[in-house]
Symmetry: C2
Subunit: 561 residues, 2 copies
């Protein structure tokens, strides 16, 4: 038994409250090392005749990654308190794993065991209920539809008449979105994530000038209000992009610092390392990356904090938006995000908070900060296996299983699962223009746990490389749209809504993978239904016998047979 | 190489800001498996010619426990951002460990690596500066000194005339503490932790009746004010015990619930499972343990929250106390403690917050909740090795090394290291009345990293079993005090103050241990000094040759030779 590879720490994905009554406990072990794991548990204060009273619950191996097995158990402690340890066995040797280490026999003193001291509802990770049933659609407003040419910025190009560049404009606006909401209703999505809409300098608007104003090229506040209402009437939630890590260069407080330097009252709104300000060779003030037009905001400064929290509250209270996506969320202090959550949830209790974080995000997903993050670890696996074909079937299963065990189940159920975005090449491009690969990507994404997001235009077969390539004008000429792909996505979204086990009311697990053929088999299941997905990611047609279905009756979901 | 046993997750003790400039990164590996570990690191945005620019820093093996080696590095990222991975080698094989797993060659994409996205000062764990230099002394007020017999509760027994029971009284009070402050100054401590002083029913006062009133047996608010002033004049900080997990049975809101049941406006102040209230066979409302006289407070209820936070603020603002020790801190929600921290620190920025938690406390020590916890994992190791002699020298070193690597360094430097308390038998009793063992306990405790706490009377050789045994009256007759032990502790505290490496300005590490003789050798060192402690925990006299001192000059601290 490889004790050195057995890991547990009573927090995060290893021990958490799934809901107000239920704890989930997980143990990580060396792959294929142990034959059984049981949870030894009891109320810390339940003693009889000077003996601590415990029970033993077998744990289930819920998955394996390249190096590890994961074992889980769910338990409802009657008094919401738990002390626990693990009985681990490799068939030959049995040992008791506790906070103090390994024992041959279960120790009698509760103090040796791991503790989940009390299940307090206030600490339970809780995302808004509607999020679990949401499919997002990401819109880059400058490129979705030009519904009001009177707003076109100077030099606006005719729709789709040129490749996107870092600086050109095509006049996309709110009216253009309103005009095309039927497309989204037809597709079946029920949430829109808009990249920034506030007054800014660039076409992507990530360099804010005024967080309290709509960029005039998109419309005014009345048009925005109309847009939100039109979405809500169609059951579509609206999420805006909060670019709080940095402002734009033309943000008046930064301009004030440039002009008045030491004398500027906004001096401490930024992180200036010295004065006067220099932008070359690297800025002598903190920025996003080394981009001098994006000075980092000092979110620890009380005035900056007040300003940004007012912004967060304003757009919810005045325009009834449903969520905030937080740009470069990982580089802002946790203390700020905790206050942000308090402000947002008090303005609208079921508002959604989504962080842009590309890496392991556990520290932000403990219930006190974000409801979800953009799940790029999921993206990486899906894209490398289905689109790029640079990952074998087994490695894909390992990757996805690892991602699922990185976070608590209630976090996974609202993870923002994207395949691409305005920051990456489009999936069709990543898939070498092979539509069949894009279909498999959608099949996997839309049958997976979490809340999927479709990047505008992908659903009708648009392609495009790393930005600015991925930010081209939406194609509205149906002749040029891939309506077959559209129908395919539509059908999957229909299943997601109509068949609970297809979406978020089903557990996920891999059944088989085959590195040679590229076939993977996974299932989604709940108490009522069991869906088995047999996916051929190889180039050859395959005949596949499914052991799991031997002697069983099954219905093909796609054909109804 | 045992990859399955290599563990890192970018938070907590594995990756943290030590101060506003410095990150500490730690890797855990199988014991004696690897010969070297290096940190591969770079700014995530520092690219040249499409290549990410990294540097490599050797990591130091800072200790080993029974199963693991720990490797650490400190680094000051120029732009406060870090992506990193580990180059691990067992001499034969070298591999690169990243967030996405193991690679033969260092991957070129930053996205594969672990991230410490930004070192925000707001998130740095920061305890009050004075705490690092503090030695605490714990006083159980009913048993320290009876300075004002006019306050004696009915039935008070003559001082020390009987064994302590769960219900008897000896009349200890504030005047009794004031009268004996010289004893504490002479000993050399500079902080007092008082167990509860608020109006309560029992002799231990953990069953509060009124959080805004002093228990009349101890004095009034004026006497308390005098006590705090007298302490401050002597450079002694004052910490009170906040019993916020539960109230007492006679707390008026609970009495109101008992009387009015469903109609009580305090119904939701507690966790009632049903009405009417029953106390047998187990209470049908949440309590501390199953003690019906200690109903658990609903700290999620806005009124309860406001009441308790007012209490926290009041005693700081009105009486200038310096800290709160939080009873049963682990069973209250994190959300409450975060608000508590904001209130306390805004009332007094350098107030100290100490949680009572007996187990792994990492979730409370992330900078947003507590400054320290009662370090019982340290206690267990020290008591089992030095006092009870139930642990071998090697196991002791493993245990202490594991404790030190469980938390960040800045957490360890303010850990509340106790040997015993009002909740455990006294150390002399645990040591089978062997004074020599108690001396070794003090030597180890007072030369260790953290802030030590001495339980009243231990320093003059008092003994006593599990409570109530450990709560006897302080012995003030010098004839009955062990003045030799007192002088020994006094001398150690003097070293702790006068020799920086002896106290908190020295790193700790074990040099040798010998299971047969019971000898352990450890060192405390900083840039200026190196102190080597050779401790014989065995029953036989030993001659010991110290390899570390071969060919070196050394001075014996105790003799000056």
């Amino acid at each position: 038994m490889l004790k050195e590879a057995i890991y547990h720490r009573p927090k995060n994905n290893f021990a958490y409250a799934y809901d107000d009554d239920t704890l989930h406990i997980m143990l990580q072990t060396k792959k294929d090392d142990l034959t059984s794991v049981s949870l030894i548990h009891g109320d810390p204060y339940h003693w009889e005749k000077e003996q601590w009273i415990t029970e033993t619950l077998p744990m289930e191996k819920t998955g394996s990654s390249e190096l590890n097995d994961y074992w889980k158990a769910a338990i409802k402690p009657p008094y919401r308190r738990l002390r626990y340890g693990f009985e681990v066995s490799d068939g030959a040797e049995t040992s008791i794993y506790t906070e103090r280490g390994f024992y041959d026999e279960a120790p009698g003193d509760t103090a040796d065991y791991f503790a989940f001291p009390f299940l307090n509802p206030a600490d339970v990770f809780t995302a808004p209920e509607w999020v679990r049933q949401t499919t997002w659609y990401q819109i880059f407003p400058e490129r979705y539809g030009n519904g009001d040419p009177s707003l076109n910025p100077e030099g606006t190009l005719a729709w789709g008449s040129a490749d996107p560049t870092p600086t050109n404009f095509f006049g996309g606006d709110f009216q253009g979105v309103i005009d095309h909401l039927d497309h989204l209703v037809e597709l079946g999505i029920n949430g829109i994530y808009f990249t920034p809409i506030f007054k800014a300098y660039s076409n992507h608007k990530y360099d804010t000038i005024d967080y309290m104003e709509i960029d005039p090229q998109f419309g005014d506040k009345e048009t925005f209000r109309k847009l939100v209402r039109a979405c809500h009437e169609r059951g579509i939630k609206v999420m805006l992009d909060a670019v709080f890590n940095h402002s734009g260069y033309y943000f008046p407080p930064f301009q004030d610092v440039l002009a008045k330097e030491q004398a500027s009252k906004y001096r401490d709104w930024f992180h200036l390392r010295e004065l006067p300000i220099k932008t070359e060779p690297v800025p002598n003030y903190d920025t996003f990356a080394f981009v001098h037009t994006m000075p980092k905001l000092n979110t620890e400064h009380p005035e900056v904090k007040r300003y940004l929290l007012d912004v967060a509250r304003y757009w919810i209270k005045e325009f009834d938006i449903d969520g905030w996506r937080l740009d470069v969320a990982n580089e802002i202090d946790h203390a700020f995000w905790r206050e942000f959550r308090r402000v947002v949830k008090s303005a609208k209790p079921d508002a959604y908070i989504l962080g842009e974080i590309w890496h392991d995000s556990m520290p932000w997903l403990q219930g006190d900060q974000f409801d979800a993050v953009m799940n790029y670890p999921f993206t990486n696996g899906a894209v490398e296996f289905f689109a790029k074909d640079t990952m074998k079937a087994g490695e894909f299963a390992d990757t996805i299983t690892k991602v699922l065990h990185m976070y608590p189940d209630n976090v996974n159920e609202v993870a923002f699962n994207l395949l691409d975005s305005h920051d990456t090449p489009r999936i069709l491009t990543l898939a070498g223009e092979e539509k069949a690969r894009v279909k498999l990507l959608y099949l996997f994404q839309l049958s997976f746990i979490g809340t999927p997001c479709i990047y505008y235009g992908d659903e009708i077969g648009m392609s495009g490389g790393q930005d600015p390539g991925c930010r081209e004008c939406m194609i509205w000429d149906e002749e040029e749209q891939d309506r077959n792909l559209f129908s395919f996505v539509q059908q999957l979204l229909n299943y997601r809504g109509a068949v609970p086990a297809f979406g978020n009311d089903g557990s996920f697990r891999f059944l088989e993978t085959n590195d040679d053929t590229g076939v993977i088999v996974y299932e989604k299941f709940n108490e009522k239904n069991r869906l088995i997905f047999v996916v051929n990611n190889g180039d050859q047609q395959q005949t596949f016998t499914l052991d799991a279905l031997a002697d069983k009756q099954a219905k093909t979901l796609f054909t109804g047979e």
